[in-house]
Symmetry: C2
Subunit: 321 residues, 2 copies
């Protein structure tokens, strides 16, 4: 179905207002961003000057720790504190279908009629720069729409913790009792990225053990003097228990980011990666447009056939663009 | 410590021979590849014409399914069948330390004195093109050294299934009974990448249930007519049970790859990605060398400061190189 080209400037204006149609304008802008539409750049340009206010909180954790429930409980607590909230649920695990797993998005339905909450799922499609390219722009849209806090949650398997951490000002790592193996296995990456840790399902056996083990591991992680010491909060997200404390620790980290300059460092690093990802995506696009895709395929055939090595082939590719 | 520049041609010659020093030459070549050394290209060039024989089998699966044990059992079975075997254990989960988690590599020690087995761990460091750039070259080294089969296994958290699948001719997906949640959560990605499925720990309760559920999900996955139907093998890797059948199914898939042309298609796609990743890595290197790194940082500051959008910044970056 052909549709009229969107008036991006008008959409951004509506998204920034508090009036009717705001939610729809926000949704439409994120769609434009996600679909890699020709208006992608136009959206990015229209948002300049309207962003930089939102606190982006990334939620990561293995399947089964209660990510969706925790996200929903955080939304409730943040709303009660008078904050406007955006939720971006990213699915980095469906590279083949291109569609987001919306399994338990229904749990968020309690917030569906709240005009102070914007909820959006997006698939990252797993390609180079997928999450890297679309998610930061979606965050900008939610930021420009006036969200005080944007929660970014991965849906599906516990992949891409590191990618999500790269998007966030504050990284919240969720754990659950009795998943000791998971902690062991994950510790290489998880311990370094977490700014705030949350042991959810704390009414189950083993919650304090999990906290103690986690604290032990965090103590062994080297940090510079004066660095942020990640707190560990126990919650029962289904009942809202401990969620206010969690919100308080997230807010405490935001203040630390502002005061220490770490917040600005993270935003600069994020922008750096974003600009680079867009530029590399453009280079990749140029590669695949060389003589109708044939050039890269031809070089690949030369490599497989033993006529050349991949480095020499890459040189040839770079010479062509 | 300064060390003499390696004579790469001589190392490749020794790696290809059956004589003493072969294992050491193989290890040295993989080190050169992993460390992004100045001799990386030289290694790639010296391997041209000596590769394309090995059958690359990727092993993926969640933590706790018994990946290391299964790898070791496969090595034993393949050696009994007279095959030379390479093992590449890739750790994509330690982007911060840069060091591979060698936790249970010790289990492989039973093969340490077998000159028909080459075992190597490498960290991918999580950077753009990390695994994409180094692992294919390490595979080439093992291929040139005469390995009939190379097993590629991820260490640590069950990330990067898709990346590993992209490296392999045959993707072996490991599951264990009683991990139904994992199957559910993972099905979006796992079902499509698996060429052979293995339910390990099959002496535990629920193994046949897991097989039945998996078979049900595989049946629902759409495949073209005449396409490969992934078999499901039950094993107890610790006792070697079912491992011969697993080897037979892997071999049957290899024959299918040859007969159907799918093998060549996969190798071409792999070479295509490899060449592109190297070229993009080179572009990225050029970005970061612009005026001593300052240029990209300056653009990032402009984006954060609201002076420009990331697309315009990316255009500027591309204009500079």
């Amino acid at each position: 179905m052909a549709r009229a080209v969107d008036d991006v400037a008008e959409l951004v204006e509506t998204a920034r207002s508090d009036g009717p149609g705001q939610a729809r304008a926000v949704a439409r802008l994120i769609s434009l961003v996600e679909r890699d539409s020709p208006q992608l750049r136009e959206v990015a340009q229209a948002l300049v000057g309207h962003v930089g206010r939102a606190h982006v909180v990334g939620l990561t954790g293995s399947p089964g720790v209660g990510k969706s429930t925790s996200t929903s409980a955080l939304v409730t607590a943040l709303r009660a504190a008078g904050k406007t909230v955006g939720v971006l649920a990213v699915d980095p695990t469906s590279p083949f279908s291109g569609g987001a797993l919306l399994g338990d998005r229904v749990r968020m339905s309690e917030h569906a009629t709240d005009t102070g909450v914007f909820i959006r799922s997006m698939a990252s499609r797993g390609h180079l720069g997928g999450l890297a390219a679309a998610a930061p722009l979606a965050l900008r849209v939610l930021d420009a729409a006036g969200c005080d806090v944007v929660l970014v949650e991965t849906v599906g398997v516990g992949q891409s913790e590191v990618e999500i951490a790269g998007l966030a000002d504050t990284s919240l790592v969720l754990l659950a009792p009795g998943m000791g193996d998971g902690i062991q296995a994950a510790k290489a990456g998880i311990l370094e990225i977490g700014d705030v840790f949350c042991v959810n399902k704390a009414d189950r056996d083993g919650a304090t053990t999990t906290r103690r083990e986690l604290r032990g591991m965090l103590t062994m992680t080297e940090r510079p003097d004066g660095a942020w010491k990640p707190p560990i909060v126990l919650t029962v997200a289904t009942k809202g228990e401990g969620v206010d404390e969690l919100v308080a620790e997230i807010e405490r980290h935001r203040v630390h980011l502002d005061d220490s300059g770490e917040g600005r460092r993270r935003r600069l690093a994020r922008a750096r990666r974003e600009v680079e990802a867009i530029a590399l995506g453009e280079v990749s696009r140029r590669f695949s447009h060389l003589s109708g895709d044939a050039r890269l395929d031809g070089l690949a055939a030369d490599v497989v056939g033993g006529a050349t090595d991949p480095f020499t082939a890459a040189d040839t590719l770079l010479d062509r663009i």
